[in-house]
């Protein structure tokens, strides 16, 4: 029987209650007369320390605390896609309907999934008498135009299928199957089940991430690629375009399902996603983006304890869709705010602080979180793989990458997209600094590029990357002696590096054409630059100067840079034309130079 205790102390989001014998660690409890949602995070004797997910204003010692007997859980079933939830999966639009207020008042109870909505369930071919276990596909439900929801036998259930519903309309409370376990117990299966958020869902095995997660962002896909099932972090000071980059990932990436967590961030950013995603078309399917997106909004002014829970709520939902065999992408903005929530709660519990006041278990919590990513074989039949890709924003104070959250995050991620305030100040977006960023997946995804796009991908990518590194070294020299002291070859490197920066790395997230570049377009742009570079190197051998190239070919170079905007993904032959123009222009310069030299000879 669930326990019932009494409050003895209230300090901000922390409540201490006594008379709580028998309560479990991480059990969800209801606090006070208003039954605010809370979670037990320390037990001392009969006292339980509870973090409360709503504001505690007005709460008094002596008020009751009710146990629920189960840990903080989410409801998993059809109806999640397209929703906006708070950090503990309360649907914010339903709260709006219920309260008719623009504000979120506390103590509002609304179920996460709509109980009245009917879904079209179609059995998947399992027969009565079949042996079934967790993960087996019982049937399918069209959740949105983009997502077919697979109704699975919940993890941990084994037995013989005794009954399965026929095709038809059902609510999530209607049973759709019945399983008899080995000990004769009959288990009714509905289209939804609950799962504790802090517990990873079971998998069969993990694979190496080999397939790129295409994002349409050149600096990511070509320079620092992400793989399906990989982990990445975007650290950056404020104003460096973190949110815009994350939103671009959520918009354009080739994942099937996107879970976007606004964890302690701005309210208007969630509104922006809510208002723009239904209007935007997914480039992979042409359907509105919202049909594949789940939003979790626990903005900076919402209760801090629910912020701590929000990333677990998000990743549990991501795992659930992975279990259906889908590629999911989880974007968490920002893990620093999550860590701060952790710090705040630890401080109230009077725990011994480690670095900068963060609790000593910060690193292990981060590790646990990022470990839930991966490309995996999921349990159940038919056999299938799915993936969870995790990208976390990090907001280092003062842009200092040595602070504890950034430093610890770096240990557990494989892709690091370092945002740079200096680049942002000059409106170089995405402001991903190519000198500080890295991706461990360049080698693993190269095979995909070579097979699907061009066998020269890795070679050309490395040349472009080296040109950028060389530019940085040369800039130091220029700062001392000016450009005049450089050789023509080095001057060319500066010019080509500029073209790479302005015509390739930079990308305007708000331009209809530039926002998303297909792998094919990215390749053509890269190819143009590298071939232009090689041809220009030759031209220099013939005595052509870089000054000439810059001035005589200014129009053509500008046309290439503007091809970002002017050449849509479905008219790539125009890029070939631009490349030919550039190469012809160089040839012309060589001819003129030879002609000028000829009479003298």
């Amino acid at each position: 029987m669930p326990v019932k205790g009494r409050i003895i102390r209230v300090a901000g989001p922390l409540v201490v209650a006594e008379g709580m014998q028998g309560v479990q660690m991480y059990e969800m409890v209801e606090v006070g007369e208003e039954r605010l949602v809370g979670e037990v995070n320390r037990i001392v004797g009969d006292k339980a320390y509870i973090q409360v997910y709503e504001t505690t204003t007005g709460l008094k010692p002596g008020e009751p605390v009710y146990g629920t007997g189960s840990p903080l859980s989410v409801e998993l079933g059809p109806g999640i896609i397209g929703k906006i939830y708070d950090g503990i999966q309360r649907p914010l639009d339903a709260i709006k309907e219920k309260t008719q207020s623009v504000f979120i008042s506390r103590g509002v109870k609304v179920p996460a999934l709509d109980r009245g909505k009917r879904w079209h369930f179609k059995p998947a071919g399992l027969r009565v008498g079949d042996k079934v276990s967790g993960g087996d596909v019982l049937g399918e439900v069209p959740e949105t135009q983009l997502v077919t929801h697979r109704v699975l036998v919940p993890p941990g259930v084994h037995g013989v299928l005794r009954w399965i519903a026929s095709e038809g309309e059902y609510t999530i409370e209607d049973p759709v199957a019945e399983v008899e376990t080995a000990d004769g117990k009959k288990i009714e299966i509905k289209m939804y089940h609950k799962w504790p958020v802090r517990k990873p869902r079971p998998i069969v095995e993990k694979f190496e991430p080999v397939e790129p997660l295409i994002t349409g962002l050149r600096v990511i896909d070509t320079m620092f690629p992400m793989a399906k099932g990989g982990t990445g972090a975007i650290p950056g000071p404020f104003g460096s375009g973190k949110t815009v980059t994350l939103q671009s990932l959520a918009k354009w990436s080739s994942a099937k399902i996107v879970i976007y967590i606004g964890c302690g961030e701005r309210g208007n950013e969630m509104t922006e996603v809510l208002e723009s995603f239904p209007k935007l078309k997914d480039p992979w399917t042409g359907r509105p983006m919202m049909e594949r997106t789940v939003l979790i909004a626990n903005t900076s002014n919402m209760p801090v304890a629910a912020r701590e829970a929000s990333i677990y709520t998000g990743i549990t939902i991501a795992e659930y869709y992975r279990d259906m065999g889908y590629d999911t992408l989880l974007v968490a903005d920002s893990t620093s705010r999550w860590a701060e929530a952790l710090r705040e709660i630890a401080g109230r519990l009077e725990e011994m602080p480690a670095e900068e006041g963060y609790p000593s278990y910060l690193a292990s919590r981060l590790a646990e979180f990022y470990s839930r990513a991966g490309r995996v074989r999921v349990p159940g039949r038919p056999e299938r793989t799915g993936s969870v890709t995790v990208v976390g924003a990090v907001s280092p104070p003062g842009g200092d990458f040595t602070e504890p959250v950034t430093a610890n995050t770096k240990r557990f991620i494989r892709v690091f997209w370092a945002l740079d305030a200096k680049l942002a100040y000059s409106r170089h977006y995405p402001a991903i600094n190519w000198l500080l960023s890295y991706s461990a997946y360049v080698d693993t995804v190269a095979k995909w590029w070579h097979e699907n796009i061009s066998p020269k991908w890795r070679e050309y990518r490395d040349i472009a990357y080296e040109l950028l590194l060389r530019e940085d070294e040369l800039k130091d020299i220029v700062r001392l002696v000016g450009t005049e002291g450089l050789s023509e070859k080095d001057k060319l490197i500066l010019e080509v590096a500029r073209i790479i920066r302005e015509g390739f790395l930079q990308q305007n997230a708000f331009d209809a054409v530039d926002a998303f570049a297909t792998p094919q377009k990215q390749w053509k742009q890269l190819e143009t630059i590298i071939e232009f570079y090689h041809a220009a190197l030759d031209a220099i051998q013939y005595g052509v100067t870089v000054k000439e190239i810059r001035e005589k070919l200014a129009d053509k170079i500008r046309a290439f840079i503007l091809a970002r905007y002017n050449v849509p993904n479905d008219r790539l032959e125009e890029l070939d034309k631009i490349k030919q123009e550039l190469l012809k222009g160089l040839e012309g310069l060589v001819k003129r130079r030879s002609a000028a030299l000829a009479p003298a000879a």
Binding site: R9, G58, N268, G398, S426, Y565
Partner: protein, 472 residues
């Protein structure tokens, strides 16, 4: 901040400890978290406070007006069975209040109105409407390159001695939306010096702007704990005006640095585990509980636009106060000491400034079709020019190319013509964009790679001149 009547009031006289602004009261077991408290000194003086922590047998009370003169024996502490509430109404426009919301202009007390918890509730992200109405401030560096929209929170990051107050006042005077609707101004001065308070009072009274403004003034020599209350009272009023009465409200909060210092002071008195530079670990959440009280909502006519002002300690933008603020607000207007020393007003460092909501507020039908391109081009060109300037300082201007020298001329014109303007100069957005084209035309056309060709042909002074010649 008057207190509503008819409550179950409990009175205690056992004070266990007095520390900084905190009083620990013994014997009470039913104080509510955040409950409001009245402290009566032996001489009859009354002060107010709130419960920061409650437990069986004691309560920790923070006294707003400070603990000077409070005695462990003889002082009475009354728990008023109410959380921190304030009575707000549109009667408050045209009036001046102290930091706790009591009138200080000699006028009558506020009679009508509704009681509201000063902490407010968070706006439901599902009810928010995305800000997109262009606000013309008449200041080119803002309108042209860091456009503000209705419902945005856009702070000014300043430094000691820079003219942030002047700029704030110019914006408060000039800000309009294109439909012509005026703003109601809610102004909270937090821990300001007497002369600053006078400057603001004088401005509002002399220009007549006071008629549509409410001023809350907490002076630097008043107790620190009041500073935590003042902005919240101001925002509670703003929310009432915007979301109950449908007004468009501009909230100016100055100086948030004083607010953060007060937060640190009280946190230290409570012996909390400090985060960066002694500021409490929850400072981000606490600042967010202020800054996030801005925006628009579906189905409500009004809006709250916030312009907090803060002075960066030692002009350091990585200091926790500007740093955490920048992570919450939707951009920042950064003032530059260098421009100020060169006599340029307003000394706005456009490269470090940013308005995150700009893109939705500009373009055809809102400002002008070329706005986004022009702004991007100005940024790119000016940032290149600033780089070249430092290069020229080392290698000399002569060793730069012709194009590079044009960039230097562009930078000079940009600062002197575009950024610089008068305190009473109110530029329309068209004027702002035309000046931008003028300074951009110093550069060769091939350098204008952020601007679409069609806009170059339509707005570049060269083609405009041609077009007007052809016409005549």
């Amino acid at each position: 901040m008057a207190v509503p009547e008819s409550r179950v009031i409990r009175e205690y006289e056992n004070i266990r400890e007095i520390r900084g602004p905190l009083v620990i009261v013994e014997g009470i077991s039913d104080a509510a978290y955040d409950e409001i408290v009245e402290v009566e000194l032996p001489n009859g003086e009354k002060r107010r406070g709130r419960v920061l922590e409650t437990a069986r047998g004691y309560a920790v009370v923070q006294v707003f007006e400070g603990t000077t003169g409070i005695t462990a024996v003889g002082t009475k502490v009354r728990f008023l069975a109410r959380t921190l509430e304030v009575k707000v109404s549109d009667e408050m426009l045209g009036r001046i209040f102290n930091g706790l919301g009591d009138p200080i202009d000699g006028g009558p007390p506020i009679t009508s109105g509704v009681w509201r918890d000063i902490n407010g509730d968070p706006l439901n992200p599902a009810t928010r409407a995305y800000p997109e109405d262009f606000i013309q401030t008449g200041v080119s560096a803002i309108d042209g390159m860091n456009t503000m929209v209705r419902g945005q929170k856009l702070p000014i990051f300043s430094g000691a001695g820079l003219p942030h107050n002047k700029l704030a006042v110019q914006i408060a005077r000039q800000a309009t939306v294109r439909s012509g609707e005026e703003f109601a101004v809610v102004f909270a001065a937090i821990g300001v010096m007497h002369d600053d308070a006078l400057f603001f009072k004088k401005f509002f009274e002399e220009t007549g702007a006071i008629k549509r403004a409410a001023l809350f003034i907490n002076l630097a020599d008043e107790p620190a704990s009041v500073r935590l209350i003042t902005p919240r009272i101001a925002l509670t009023l703003a929310e009432h005006l915007a979301f109950d009465l449908g007004m468009h409200v501009l909230v100016i909060l100055t100086d948030m640095t004083n607010y953060a210092e007060a937060l640190r002071e009280i946190s230290a008195a409570r012996e909390e585990v400090p985060g960066r530079q002694g500021y409490p670990g929850y400072m981000y959440s606490d600042l967010a509980s202020i800054y996030e009280r801005a925006g628009r909502a579906h189905g409500r006519r009004g809006s709250i636009t916030q312009m907090p002002i803060l002075t960066m300690p030692n002009d350091d933008i990585t200091h926790p106060i500007p740093d955490l603020t920048g992570y919450i607000t939707e951009g920042q207007i950064v003032l530059s000491r260098e421009l100020h020393n060169r006599g340029i007003y307003p000394p706005i460092n456009v490269l470090m400034s940013l308005s995150r909501l700009m893109k939705e507020g500009i373009g055809p039908g809102k400002t002008r079709e070329d706005h986004a391109n022009v702004s991007d081009q100005l940024y790119a060109a000016y940032s290149r020019a600033v780089e070249l300037r430092s290069l020229a300082a080392i290698v000399g201007e002569e060793s730069l190319s012709d194009v590079d020298r044009k960039y230097l001329r562009f930078a000079e014109a940009f600062e002197q013509r575009f950024i610089r303007q008068g305190f009473y100069e109110n530029r329309s957005i068209e004027e702002t964009l035309d000046i931008a084209w003028e300074v951009l035309s110093i550069l060769p056309e091939t350098e204008l790679y952020r601007i679409k060709d069609e806009f170059i042909r339509k707005y570049h002074p060269k083609y405009r001149k041609k077009a007007s010649e052809e016409k005549s």
